[in-house]
């Protein structure tokens, strides 16, 4: 009789060991909650949003409504989970982990653009931008564009009614090196599905070739050196909506500035092409390493 009891005791000790280990290593809480003061009633957290001036404290005084329709509302034993508690449980973050990661990926973006600032001559054309992302928010890019010019009806009106002499630059093509910074990342719902997007700023420096670039510097020496390309800079803002791991829709407003002396005048002037760009970009490699978190 004592032998079986001893055997069972040993068995109990052996089998209890994993349980003891499991109890001895509780995972640390995501955010340790401060201990309530003795006697103080535990208050629900106030749903405020810092930094935006969103004051939702009025709601905190009311009974917290269920932000989502839960089947469990009908069951008294199951606690009601509103959005705030879900967020504070660290199970659903306000903006969840980035799904679309760009670090060490290459983006190829063909776009079409049209200028929105010149009332007399609209510039439009196509561009190709290749970017390599050094980190998720920083990229270096090469941006090449070709331009065409379309006179508007106002050219005819200005010349007919006001005898205007409109000297205009005719850009042909440009190549710029650029840096892109994407400090804004967000998500949105459309048709009850999630899309992720980021907002970026782009700035660059390069060269632009206009129709005066081939003009000789010395008019008495037509075979001599020409003006050559103009130094150009660009600055713009844009949004990138990710549709898949490797495809995104881009829109951007980019201003390209350069100094040119248009034909017919001896005055040089800063030329600005403020253009609305739209395009669809491809990412290489195709797979985003953050997709698993969705």
């Amino acid at each position: 009789m004592t032998r079986p009891l001893a055997a069972v005791t040993c068995l109990l000790l052996v089998l209890s060991a994993p349980a003891a280990r499991a109890q001895a290593t509780p995972p640390p809480p995501a955010q340790p909650a401060p201990a309530p003061a003795p006697g103080a009633q535990e208050k629900p957290p106030e749903p405020t949003t810092e930094g935006l001036g969103l004051d939702l404290t009025e709601d905190a005084k009311k009974p917290a409504p269920s932000a989502v329709a839960l089947p469990s509302d009908k069951v008294k034993d199951v606690p009601v989970l509103d959005e705030q508690s879900l967020v504070e449980d660290d199970r659903v973050k306000s903006i969840q982990r980035k799904v679309f990661l760009k670090t060490h990926r290459f983006e190829l973006l063909p776009t079409i653009f049209v200028s929105v600032n010149d009332p007399y001559y609209s510039k439009w054309g196509g561009a190709l931008r290749g970017s390599f992302f050094l980190s998720d928010t920083l990229a270096v890019a090469v941006h090449a564009s070709v331009y065409d010019l379309l006179p508007t009806d106002d050219v005819r009106t200005a010349k007919a009614n006001f005898q205007s002499r409109i000297f205009y630059s005719v850009p042909k093509w440009s190549v710029l090196g650029a840096v892109e910074w994407s400090p804004i990342y967000g998500k949105a719902t459309i048709f009850n599905s999630i899309i992720h997007f980021d907002g970026f700023i782009i700035a660059g420096l390069g060269a632009l070739w206009s129709d005066t670039s081939s003009t000789p510097l010395d008019s008495k020496n037509p075979g001599g050196p020409t003006r050559g390309p103009h130094i150009a800079g660009e600055f713009g803002i844009g949004l990138r909506f990710m549709t898949t791991d490797w495809l995104s829709v881009n829109i951007a407003l980019i201003d390209t500035a350069y100094v040119d002396q248009p034909a017919g005048t001896n005055k040089g002037a800063v030329q600005n092409i403020l253009a609305l760009n739209a395009g669809i970009s491809l990412f290489f490699p195709f797979r985003s390493t953050g997709r698993e978190s969705e």
Binding site: P18, P27, L54, S66, V75, R91, D153, I166
Partner: protein, 255 residues
């Protein structure tokens, strides 16, 4: 003897089983149990959580200021207001109106014979330079398919929605007089407008809105004679709007 042994073994295994059950729940807030009871998380939480405001069945009143751009002759500064009723979270109907103050555009140029080119005066432009808009009214259908949050440098977040508008518009403008008579007369034109807007939500009843609009209409141009009749041209007038929206009623029921 054997029965006792079985009972003892069962008692010994019970805490192990409990410990194994509790391990995942302790780590992640018992997600498995909640998922089992009330469904998976993705079905319980909307794609974008925490709408700070809802628009359905609410009125929106927004005083607005609009600035025209890409103007060849006249720059317009429009003071106006927009009243919108939101039938659903995404669909609304807006009535807008605005009065335009005009100034000579920086791109305008006149080159009188024997003189250097210069910027024209208002009197020189009046009746000859198109785009002298005085009033704009429009009935816009609004579709706001996109609601989102923006993470701002990982510190805070902003709620916004994006919407499209389109609808008929009526424009009062200064039209040239017939037969090359100097000066202008007021005239109305019917056209349409389309645009893209964005609301940044401050709280449950106030938002800041930005819009880009293209107002398309047919305008009478100078040069009409009694024999040829009036001539017209289609004009695209671009506006950038900024407005402050107030929603009524100023609260709403979630869920």
């Amino acid at each position: 003897m054997n029965a006792r042994l079985v009972v003892l073994v069962a008692l010994a295994l019970a805490p192990v089983a409990r410990a194994q059950d509790l391990t995942p729940s302790t780590e992640a807030g018992d997600t498995a149990a909640v998922d089992r009871d009330i469904g998976p998380l993705k079905d319980r939480v909307p794609p974008v959580t925490g709408y700070t405001f809802l628009m359905a069945r609410r009125f929106e009143i927004a005083p607005t200021f609009s600035l025209s751009f890409r103007d060849a002759f006249w720059t317009k500064y429009v003071v106006g207001a927009t009243a919108t009723y939101h039938f659903t979270e995404t669909l609304g109907l807006a009535l807008r109106g605005g009065f335009a103050f005009t100034s000579v555009s920086g791109a305008a140029q006149i080159c009188p014979a024997g003189e250097a080119c210069r910027s024209p005066t208002k009197e020189e432009l009046d009746g000859k330079g198109p785009g002298q808009i005085k009033l704009i009214t429009a009935l816009d259908f609004e579709w706001a398919p996109l609601y989102g949050k923006i993470s701002l440098l990982a510190e805070g977040f902003a709620h916004f929605n994006l919407y499209l508008i389109a609808g008929p518009a009526a424009i009062q403008y200064k039209a040239p007089k017939d037969a090359n008579v100097p000066g202008s007369d007021s005239a109305w034109a019917v056209g349409g407008e389309a645009g893209l807007g964005m609301r940044f939500i401050f709280n449950r009843w106030m938002a800041l809105r930005f819009e880009l609009r293209d107002v398309i209409y047919r305008e009478k141009t100078v040069g009409a004679t009694e024999t040829t009749g009036a001539s017209y041209q289609v004009r695209n007038q671009l506006f950038f709007d900024i407005g402050l929206s107030f929603f009524f009623p100023n609260s709403f029921t979630e869920g």
